[in-house]
Symmetry: C2
Subunit: 386 residues, 2 copies
Amino acid sequence: MRMLMDQHLLLTPGPTPVPDRVKYAMNAPMIGHRSKEFPLLLEDAAKQLMPVFGSKTPIAIIAGSGTAALEAAAANIIESEDSVIVIVTGAFGERFAQICEAFGANVHRLEIEWGKACAPEVLEQYIDRLGISLKAVFSTYCETSTGVLNPIQALGSVVKTKTDALFIVDGVSCIGAVPVDMEGWHIDILVSGSQKALMLPPGLAFIAAGDAARKQISKTKSSRFYLDLNRYFSSYETEHSTPFTPAVSLIFGAREVCRMIQEEGFENVINRHLLLKNMMREGLKALEIPLLAEDDSASPTITSIKTMDDTTRQLKSFLENHYSISLAGGQKRLKGQIMRIGHMGYCTPHQILTALSSIEMALYKISGKDLLGKGVAKAQEVWIHA
Amino acid sequence: MRMLMDQHLLLTPGPTPVPDRVKYAMNAPMIGHRSKEFPLLLEDAAKQLMPVFGSKTPIAIIAGSGTAALEAAAANIIESEDSVIVIVTGAFGERFAQICEAFGANVHRLEIEWGKACAPEVLEQYIDRLGISLKAVFSTYCETSTGVLNPIQALGSVVKTKTDALFIVDGVSCIGAVPVDMEGWHIDILVSGSQKALMLPPGLAFIAAGDAARKQISKTKSSRFYLDLNRYFSSYETEHSTPFTPAVSLIFGAREVCRMIQEEGFENVINRHLLLKNMMREGLKALEIPLLAEDDSASPTITSIKTMDDTTRQLKSFLENHYSISLAGGQKRLKGQIMRIGHMGYCTPHQILTALSSIEMALYKISGKDLLGKGVAKAQEVWIHA
C-alpha cells in the first residue's frame, strides 16, 4: 500500500523536512538585495544564528551547498604546499581532505576506522609523530556518513596545546542540534549547511570564523572569487549585505528557523535531539538490530544500522515501499553495509515511534520475526523517563 | 501613502517577482537527493532548460548565485598565464575580468563606453591589434549594469573566424527572455542565474557547455572543487544527479518555470519581452526622460534612464515611497547617474503601464511637470499595434 506522498516521512540525514511556517516565510514577496529591507533581513539571520554556532561574530551566509562551505573554509586558509592534518572518520572527512588537496595542501590524513570517533590522544600522538609545523587541522563534528560525533571540544584542546594550527570544523549535519562554543573549544572556523538540523531546503552555506581565522583569511593568496570570505565579511561589515546576489528566499527561511529555535529554546532543541537519539537507539537495540556507532560517540542527529543479514538489507526499500518512510543507505566504503536514519531538525519523538513501529512491522513481514511493539515500548520508556 | 507590501511592484533587474505557482512547486515535500525521485526532477529541469539556453546538451545546475556561474565558466577553462579577452561593457564585464584575473589569466580588457554595445568590428580590430593566441573571449549578453544587449551572434562569428578561442557568454540578466543558439552562434559556454528572466528566487547557477568547452574543461588543471564542472557533468551522465547536495526546492521551482515557458511558448515569451521594452522606452521618451542605451542595443529585459537633473534623481525614491515601486540605481561608475528598470520574467504589459503612470505622477509631484497620461498613451499605442 502506497500512502499519501505528503505524509511521507523523510528520515534521511539531509535534506530534512521543512516546517510549513518556514515555507510561508520563504514565500514572502521577493525583495531586491540592494533594497533597504535586505540588510535588515541579513543582519537578523546572521546575528540570530550566532548562539547556534557558538560564535561571537555574525555568521557569513553564502548561496551554495555544504560543500561550498567546506571549500570556503579550506580555500581561504590554505596556500600551496601548506601542511595540514585532516581527521578522516568517514566520507566527509575524506571530502575535506580532497578539497585541501585540490588547493595544493600537503594533506596528512589521520585515518580512523569508519564508525568510530577520533580520540583526542590519537590526534595528540599523530601530531607528535608528524613533528611538523601545521597550518590547520580539519575535523568533522558529526560525520554524516557514519553518524559519529567527534569530541570536538577535546580535539580543540589538543590542537591548541600542541600546535599553532587553526582548527577548522565541519558542522554540516549537527549544527543546530548540538552544543558548541567556538572560543571555548578553540574552533577557528565552523561551517554548516541549511538542509540538516537547520530545517531549511539545501542552498545556503554558513561560515563562522573567529579572529585568528579572519586574520589568516585576509592574508591568504589562493585563487578564489565567489568563495572569497574577505568579500563576505567586508560587505557585511560595511552595509550588512553580500558581495554577490544572496539566496533571498532561503534567508527569509533562515530568519524564521532562528525564531523557531528561540521559541523552543536552544537548550531544549539540544535535549530534544538527545531524546530522539536515545529513543531510536534503545528501540533498535530492543529489536536486536546492530548499530554501527557506540552510544558515547553516536550523534544525536543520525543513527546508523549495520545491514549484515538479508533481513536488514531489505529494510530500507521495504520501509520506503510499504510504510512511506525514507532512510539513507551507506556511502563509499560503507555502501551496502549500513543504513542511516536521520532524526534532526523538524523531527519529534512521535516520529521516532512511527519509524520504530514501521521497522517492527517490516521485520515481521520480511522474516516473520515477531517483535511487534517491543522497540516502541522501549522508546516510550526512554521518553517517559526523559 | 504607503501601500500593501504584497502589492509592491518589484521592477529591479533581479531578483524579480516569483509566480505563485512556482512558490507552490517549491513547497512540495522535501525529497532526498539520493532518492529515486530526484534524478527524474533534475533530468526534467536540465532537459527542459535546453531550448531556453539554445543548448544541445542538458544544463548543469549548481547551488550558487550568478557569480558562481561566471566563476565556473572561467575557472574550468583558464589556467595560469592563459591570455584571454574580456569585453567590458559595464560592471559585469568587469566582474568577468576580475574573476579571470583571480584565476591567473592575462586579461586583455576590451573597454567599451558604458551604455554602448561592443560592435563586432571593434572586437575584430582588437583581436588583430593584440595579435596573440587566445584561450577564450568573454562577453556579457545583457550587461545588467547598463541594460545593453551585446550582439552575441555577430561577436561569436568574429571569435570563430579570427581565433581558436572559446567564446564564453554571461547570459544572467537575459536568458529566458531572448533568443540564443549556442552552436549556431559559436557560443562554447553560456551561463545564467535563476533570479532574473527565469522567475525564480536567487540561488541556482546554470551552465550550458558545448563539446569543445567540455573537452577543455576535462583538461583544465586549475584549483577547484565545488565548481569543478567535470563533477557535475559526470554525475549527471552517470545517474542524473549532482556531485554535491543540490538546492532541491529551487529545482522544483525551475521545473515549474520550464512548464510556464512551454505553456506560453518560448517565442511568445521572447516577443512579450520585446513588447515590454518597446512600451517602456516609447513611454519614457514621451515623458522626455533621457535613456542611456540606444534602441538597437537596448535589452528587452532592462531599461536605463539617465538621471541628469534634480527631478530624475528623485524619481527612484519617490516611486519607492509613494507608489510602492522598486527600481534600481546605477552601479560602480554609473552610480548616481542612471536608474534601471527591470522588466523581465514574471512581468506583463499592464505592469509597464502601471510603472509609467506612476512615473508621470511622480514627475508632476516632484517638478509640477504635467505629462499625465502621455507616457501611458504612447505605451498603449505600442501594445495595440504589437
